[in-house]
Structures are given as C-alpha cells and as structure tokens.
Amino acid sequence: MSNRAKNGLGVVSIVIIIWTLIPLLWIVATSLKSTAALGDSSQNILGNFWPKDISWDNYKLIFSGGASDLFVPALWHSIIVCVVATVISVVLATFCAYAISRLDFPGKKLILTTSLAVSFFPVIAMVTPLFNLWRQIGLFDTLPGLIIPYLTLTLPLSIWTLSAFFQQIPWEMEQAAQVDGASSWQAFVKVIAPLAAPGVFTTAIIAFFTAWNDFVFSSNLTAQHAQTVPAALSFFTGASQFVQPTGAICAAAVVVTIPVVILVLFFQKRIVAGLTSGAVKG
C-alpha cells in the first residue's frame, strides 16, 4: 500500500472514531453540567457541548441525593439479575455445547436451530403472557420474575456462541495427554479447561451485555422492587414536575456505561471473535 493510501485510511479511521465517540462524550458532558448550564448555552463551550464549569452535582444526586433511592437499588437489581442470568445460561450452555461439539447424538441440529430461532423472538411478544402469568403467581416485580425471562435472551446466545467456540477446540489433545500418562482429571484441568476457558469467558461477557441492555422486560414486568437501571432511567423525575431530570439521567447513564466500556477495552479481540464466529464462518 502506498503511503498516500495509508494516510488516507488513517484519516478516515479517525473520522469514524470521532463519529463513534461524540455521543459518548456528549453524555459525559451533559452529566457534568449544572442545572443552570443545561438550558443556557452561554455557560457552555463548543456550541453548547462542553460545560465551562464542571459540576459533580448530578452524581451526588444519584448516589446520595434525591434520585438515590431510585438509582442505587436499580443498580443492584441490574447487577444481581444480569450476573445470575449469565451464570445460569453459561453453565447450562457449557454442558450443552460440549455435548454438541464432542458427542454424536441425534437432535444436535435441532438444538442449534432452535437456539437461533429463539434469539430472533420479538421479546415484547413474551411480555403480555408473562405479565398476566406473573401477576397471577406473584412473580411480578420480583428478581426471579426478571431472571427467568432474561434466560430467553442469554441462553440461546450462549448455546450458539459456545458451540462455535468448542468446535474449534482440538479435543484430540485430551487423549494425547492421557496417552502421555495424565489421568482424565489431569487431562481435563491441564489441557481442556485452559482451551475452553476463553470461549466460556467470552460467551459470559456477550451474554452479560445482552442482559445488561434489556429494557423491554424490565420496563414492563417490574414496578419498583426489581427495576433495573435502563428501566429506572426512563422513570427518573426531576426535583419538581417542571424540572427535567436530564443531568441525573446522564450521570446514571455514564455509571452503567463504565463497566461495559472497560470490558470492551480489555477483551475487544475476544468479543469480536465471539460475535462473529457463531454467525459467519464462510
């Protein structure tokens, strides 16, 4: 490639990076604006983008102020529900994917096709029947009442992604290790587990992202005792009904975005492999 083409692509890349980062910087910028600066462009620079004076009031509001009794429990609900749903899905899917990639049994293709079909489900279609059922059996607005439907999001995805990962593992190495005198357990711990762990870990990250993102279930199947952050955000209210809760929402949005960005920064390569290996291999 000529130097000119190289530089040209570099410039285009930077344009793409800026386009990608602007909405992120924007939400950070808005979360740092004082209530007065939010509606007054003279207190901001760069065309009402960045505040002249940074204010941490919005963060105080969501962690210890008026919005904390809505935000802090929601954050805990989000963490608990997403972690539990992810762990259940990944454990079940690990057994399932192991069987699919290593054992010969009828129905393998059925399992994979079903998990794909389920991941195409319009989740809102499940809200109506679950809304009715949960109200009758008392699961409405409870954490289990959210974890169960979250499995619809995370389980098919985990089965599909993990099967793709496991099919790339050279399972013969286990036998080779046994031939070399390792016990089954040693062969598993020393050879297979290290090979399988990255796939399991990546699948867990992707499943977690999906659960973390949910708004449909949480906004419709909870009221206040099990609300997760995405749903809580849309129910934030200002100090009075005439004050928009813009700053508080942005601060809360930044807080739930931080863990996601950290995961992406550290595990970018694996996440990309996980997202694409299941779907496209040619």
């Binding site: 980062l21 939400i27 096709t113 319009p122 496209v280």
Partner: protein, 318 residues
C-alpha cells in the same frame, strides 16, 4: 477408546458390534443428558409464553375485569388488522427498518473495508467501533435525544454554525413525525452499524485477496472489484448480517420509547404491544398484536432462509 481402536483393526464379531452400538447408545444418552437441560429450559421460557399468548389472543380479556373474560376467537386479530393505529405503527416500523438497513449496509461495508485494510490506527479503531454495540440502547437513545433537544442539545447549534446561520437554532426535531423518526434512525444507526461492520469484516477476511489482485492487474476499476469480486465472495456473511439486522430493527422498542414515547405517530409495533398490555391491560388484544409481530418476524426469517438461501446452521460451521 480401546474398543474403537480394536474394532477398526479388523472384522467385527457380533459381540463387538453389540458392544459398539451399546457405546453409541451410551453416547446418545450422555449427549442428551448434557444438552437436555439447556434445551428444555430454553423451550420452557420461550415456547410456553408464546403458546400462552396465542391462547390469550382468542379472548376479550381485560386484566381489570377478569370476570368479563370471553372467548371471541379471531376477533382481536380482525380488530387489530383493520385498525388505523396498527397500520400506522406498521408503517413507522417499516420506515425505520428500511432506512436503517440501507444506511447501515453502506456505512457498515465502508467501515468494514477501512478496518480490513487500515494499518494505523488498526487496533484502536477496532476497539472504539465495538463500544456502541456494547452500550445500553436506552443510554444511547438518551444521548441522542438530549443532543437533538432545543434547550439542552448541541445539534441545532452545530448545524446553525455549519450552515452559516441558515439552520434555525430553535428547530424542534421532536415536533413532527419525520424529523422525530430521523433522530430515532440516526441513533439506531450509530448504535448498530458497528455490529454490522464486524459481521461484514468477518466476511471480507474470507475473500481471496489473490482474486482481488488478479482483477486489479486485469484493470478492473474499484467499483468493478467491489461488485464483481468482493461482494459475491462474501455473500454468506452479507446475508447473515442483513438477516440479523432486519429482525433486530423489526423489534425496535427501547429507542423510540425513550426518544418520543410514541408521540407524533412514532409508535412502533413492539411499542403498540407494550401499551396495549401494560397501560391499557387489554391482555387479549396485546396478545393478538404480539402474535402478529411474531408472525411477521417468522415470515422475514423464512424469506431470508428460503429465498436468499441463507443457511445459518451450516454457514456457521465448517
């Protein structure tokens, strides 16, 4: 292991054959024992609600009036399909699907090609591009909403400056149907193009670079190389990306919910199901709408798989 090795050596005695099929049987049993729980739970948490929705959709049933529950067969469907609100939501959803799909295909392909060939900043680009995919949709919707709003936003200020004052600083994006949809689409495009471009990048990586070089040597233009060599060779990846995105866009809910709440005729099909169920507690009607949406998704998937021959189970596996 030894049985397989011995059996492979020579003729099988009947005894050994019986033993082998025992082994195969055992493997089957173990296979289902390991895969079964995940499969059954998956079916329970999805098929059961869907079946229940089909059942409920046959009733005139308000949650606040359980005694008035009455079997009305397909009347809910007839009401829904002749209701102007349904068709309005249908058109809104369709517009979002078509606009985002076209833009994302072009933009996603362009980004994929840049990611494929760029030398610097290769890693940074690939990492940054992944962030919108991972971000919570509600967060991205709020970000774009506040960016477009008159009082809090920067859109109008920037457009005002860029057009040397031609664009009004007080333009209300959320005042009309199409301008609201424009912002909804923009936010959706920002959020989901990265996923599209990653799928397309995986396809691009499989295009034989020798073929591309040969076309180049033969004097093919850039456009010819793209349409005659690159795209046909990554058709599988292209179709999978299209299918994923279409089905995702048809189900769009979070984004318009946060942006407009359905005001100015921007309610999508998924939102309509939600309002019927939760705000109006019309369980029967909500279920009928849910089933209709589900059927639409089925039809789209069917068309892709049958007409465009997208073989998902084998294209995924080598």
């Amino acid at each position: 292991m030894t049985t397989v090795a011995e059996a492979a050596k020579g003729e099988l005695t009947p005894e050994e054959q019986a033993h082998l099929s025992d082994r195969a049987k055992g493997e089957r049993r173990l296979g289902w024992r390991l895969a079964g729980p995940a499969f059954i739970i998956m079916l329970l948490v999805t098929l059961y609600p869907i079946g229940y929705a089909v059942y409920l959709s046959l009733f005139n049933y308000r949650l606040t009036d359980p005694a008035g529950k009455k079997l009305v067969w397909l009347q809910n469907y007839a009401t829904a399909l002749t209701d102007s609100l349904f068709w309005q939501a249908f058109v809104t959803t369709l517009v979002i699907v078509i606009v985002t799909l076209i833009v994302e295909l072009i933009l996603g392909m362009a980004i994929a090609m840049v990611m494929h060939r760029v030398v610097w900043p290769r890693r940074t680009l690939r990492t940054i591009v992944l962030i919108p995919y991972a971000i919570v949709t509600v967060v991205s919707a709020f970000s774009w909403k506040y960016a477009a709003q008159i009082d809090t936003g920067f859109f109008n200020h920037w457009l005002h400056t860029l057009t040397f004052g031609g664009f009004s600083e007080t333009y209300n994006w959320f005042g009309g149907r199409w301008s609201s949809l424009a912002i909804i689409c923009l936010s959706e495009i920002w959020k989901t193009t990265p996923f599209m471009s990653l799928l397309l990048l995986a396809g691009l990586a499989q295009v034989d670079s020798a073929q591309e070089e040969a076309a180049k040597v033969d004097g093919a233009t850039w456009w010819q190389r793209l349409t005659r060599v690159i795209l046909p060779n990554m058709k599988a990846a292209l179709m999978v990306a299209l299918l994923f995105r279409t089905l995702d866009a048809v189900r769009i809910y979070d984004n318009p919910y946060v942006m407009t709440g359905g005001a100015n005729k921007t309610e999508t099909l998924s939102m309509l199901v939600g309002t019927e169920t939760v705000s109006r507690v019309e369980i029967g009607m909500g279920s009928a709408l849910a089933v209709i949406l589900f059927v639409i998704v089925l039809i789209i998937a069917f068309v892709f798989v049958k007409l465009f021959k997208v073989d998902l189970t084998t294209s995924g596996r080598s």
